[in-house]
Symmetry: C2
C-alpha cells in the first residue's frame, strides 16, 4: 500500500478549495479539534515524539494523531527529524510555516482565558507574560523555536 497511497497524494491531492478566502483555506488545513493542539504542544516543547503527543492531557486517539501528523507534514507545517540517539524514535518539530501560527495560538489563548474558568497556573503565567508585551513575547518565542 505504500506506493499506492503515495500516488494518491500526488494525483488526487485533495481536490479544490471551497474558496480563496485565507480563513477558509486555513480552516480546511487545520480547522478541527486536534490540529492546533498538536501545534500548541510543539510550541511549548519545541520537539515532540509521537508518544509525547499521546501523553497530552486531551488524550488524542492514536489513529487521529497519525492522520493529523501526516497532513500537517504534507502541508509543511511540521517536519520529521531523526532522533539523535535512537532509531525507533521520531522527532516532530514546527517548520517556519508552523512557527508562524504562534500569533493565532496566542490570540486563541487570550480569548479562551477570558471566557473559560480554571485556567492552569502555568498557562496563566504564560499569558501574563504575553499581556505585558505581546510583540516581544512572540519575537522571543519564535527565536527560541527557530534555533536548531
Amino acid at each position: 500500500m505504500r506506493f499506492a497511497s503515495e500516488l494518491k497524494i500526488i494525483f488526487m491531492s485533495k481536490d479544490k478549495n471551497r474558496s480563496n478566502c485565507p480563513i477558509s483555506c486555513s480552516l480546511e488545513l487545520w480547522g478541527d479539534k486536534w490540529s492546533l493542539l498538536i501545534i500548541r504542544d510543539l510550541m511549548l516543547a519545541k520537539q515532540c515524539t509521537y508518544g509525547d503527543f499521546l501523553k497530552s492531557e486531551e488524550k488524542i486517539s492514536t489513529n487521529i494523531l497519525a492522520a493529523r501528523l501526516k497532513t500537517l507534514e504534507q502541508h509543511m507545517v511540521i517536519e520529521k527529524l531523526e532522533h539523535p540517539n535512537s532509531k525507533s524514535k521520531v522527532l516532530y518539530k514546527l517548520t517556519k510555516k508552523g512557527i508562524e501560527l504562534l500569533p493565532i495560538l496566542v490570540e486563541i489563548n487570550l480569548w479562551g482565558e477570558k471566557y473559560y474558568a480554571d485556567i492552569p497556573d502555568k498557562t496563566k503565567a504564560l499569558l501574563k507574560d504575553v499581556k505585558k508585551d505581546k510583540k516581544s513575547f512572540i519575537r522571543r518565542t519564535i527565536k527560541k523555536l527557530d534555533i536548531d
Copy 2:
C-alpha cells in the same frame, strides 16, 4: 419540543471539557471547518440572515448551518434579533464575546494570506489596512460592530 430542548441545554450541558487549556476549550466550541466562517461573515456584514450565510462562497449545507448557529447562540457568541420589517426573517449578530474573536480572525487571515495563492482583492485590501496598523484596525472594527 421547545421546552424539552431547553431542559436538555440546562441539564445535559455537553458534559466535561477535555482539559482546562484555553486553546482546547476554544476548539471544542468553534474548532471545526465552518464556525469561524460564520463569525467571519458577521464581522464583515455586522448582521446576517440565515439566507445570507447560505449565500457565502463556501456553500455550507443548511443542516450544518442550523446546528452551528444553535451552538454559537447557546454559548453566547452570537445572538438572534428580530428583523425590523419582517416577521419571517431572522437577524444574527455577534455578541461582545463574538466580537472579541476578531484578533483571532485577523491573525488567521494574515497567516492564510502568506501561505495561499489567489487571495481575493477585497481581502488583500483589508489586510493592507490591517498591516498598516493592526491595533487601530481592530479597535475601529470593534467599534463599528458594537454600535446597534
